[in-house]
Symmetry: C2
Subunit: 230 residues, 2 copies
Amino acid sequence: MKTTQIGNAWKGAERCENCAIRHLVLFSDLQKSDFDQIHQPIDDISYKPGSIVYGQSDHMEFVYTIRSGLVKLVQYLPDGNLRIVRILGQGELLGIESLNTQVAEHKAITLDPVQLCRIPHSVITLLQQNSPGIHNALIARWQKMLNMADLWITQLSTGKIRTRVSRLLLLLSKNSLDDTFYMPTREDIGNILGITTESASKVTAEFKRNGWLKLLENNHAQVDENKLEI
Amino acid sequence: MKTTQIGNAWKGAERCENCAIRHLVLFSDLQKSDFDQIHQPIDDISYKPGSIVYGQSDHMEFVYTIRSGLVKLVQYLPDGNLRIVRILGQGELLGIESLNTQVAEHKAITLDPVQLCRIPHSVITLLQQNSPGIHNALIARWQKMLNMADLWITQLSTGKIRTRVSRLLLLLSKNSLDDTFYMPTREDIGNILGITTESASKVTAEFKRNGWLKLLENNHAQVDENKLEI
DNA sequence: CATTATAATTGAAATTTTTCAATGTAATTT
DNA sequence: AAATTACATTGAAAAATTTCAATTATAATG
């Protein structure tokens, strides 16, 4: 975990102001004067694949903007079982729920090399008082999260396994910028769909045999969207 | 569908101000001066069980506060299949997502006799500009929705059917104010859990035979929480 | 109250999914 | 490059779930 301080007590958030992906993040609507209010350091942190950003029930003092990479949100059942409830990517906010409760609802684990900006709760609170634009940015994130959660229920937890694996791969493919996408491990596919690792493997192996799914370097893959959509 | 106008162009929202469940609804934090800004009518509407409040993809100009009763949110898959993604009760907001997009993400159907307050989007927009308290009230609803959605994924879409039916009944029971709760039809249980009506029936019938579930008048029921928790 | 319609239950067979154990493959370390 | 480790695949049997068809119970209606 490598940390670079983006702003600090005297420099404020000038680097946020000029951030290459600012249009994608929470601060897109802010003005220069808004940035001048920020006096807490906003750190830019790099994570290796498989790193735990925070754990379920952790006390939280930060939220995290994803600059690049993918993060899975995992939730545990009382019996120790778990389910992956979302996968978040660039521009999305980790730990948004902790702004109100100070507690993380999920465990957040990086899937690939990830860069996050760590924003203190106090920065958000301050902006909420003085920079009304931040509200819409936050609500937009809530809305996106809820849409994704509903999609998880409707598309990924309903129907036969083959259908659900198809829907997941299509989703990953269509959300990707190029024609390849991050291919989760079979275990993760299982935990996304609520099925066993073996069942996930049987279906993905079948798709590969059919030529509908091609595995590439670096945990990436490519699908024939037309074939899977049937 | 019986409508009573709560406020109107000249009376404003004085009845909202004195609403018996105001502490539970979106307007809990508002001051007298806030209510004085409201000049659009807020109607109080009664629905019979099984009424459609709005449909998926409907153009929306209102959100709805639940004064009493239960409402299910249904989402359709492209193939015509459907899933119930949430059940909402007193104090919760229907159509919150339409505040940003003007479009309903779900079909909303009443489960029992329901009373709703229909609030024009314009009222919320106005309050967002002048009454900062409304933001927290809205965010609290987003957060509750997302918690419920995650719970639906983790608890209700994971595991064997018997476990999932147990979890659902426990959830309904624990969210209820008294020791009875609204018992969904077996078809609805199926659409909540993503299983067939028959499977839902087989398990609930078994619970009844075991004496763990008792059906009462009026689509209500009671469970032995200790037995189901095993 | 009798009738009709709707919802719930049940059982047996078919299908799907999991389980368990073994093997194959790929990536990483020594 | 060999050894080790982790991940992926496969097959057969067991278990869970769906399907389909029939029956029973409950609610709604004239």
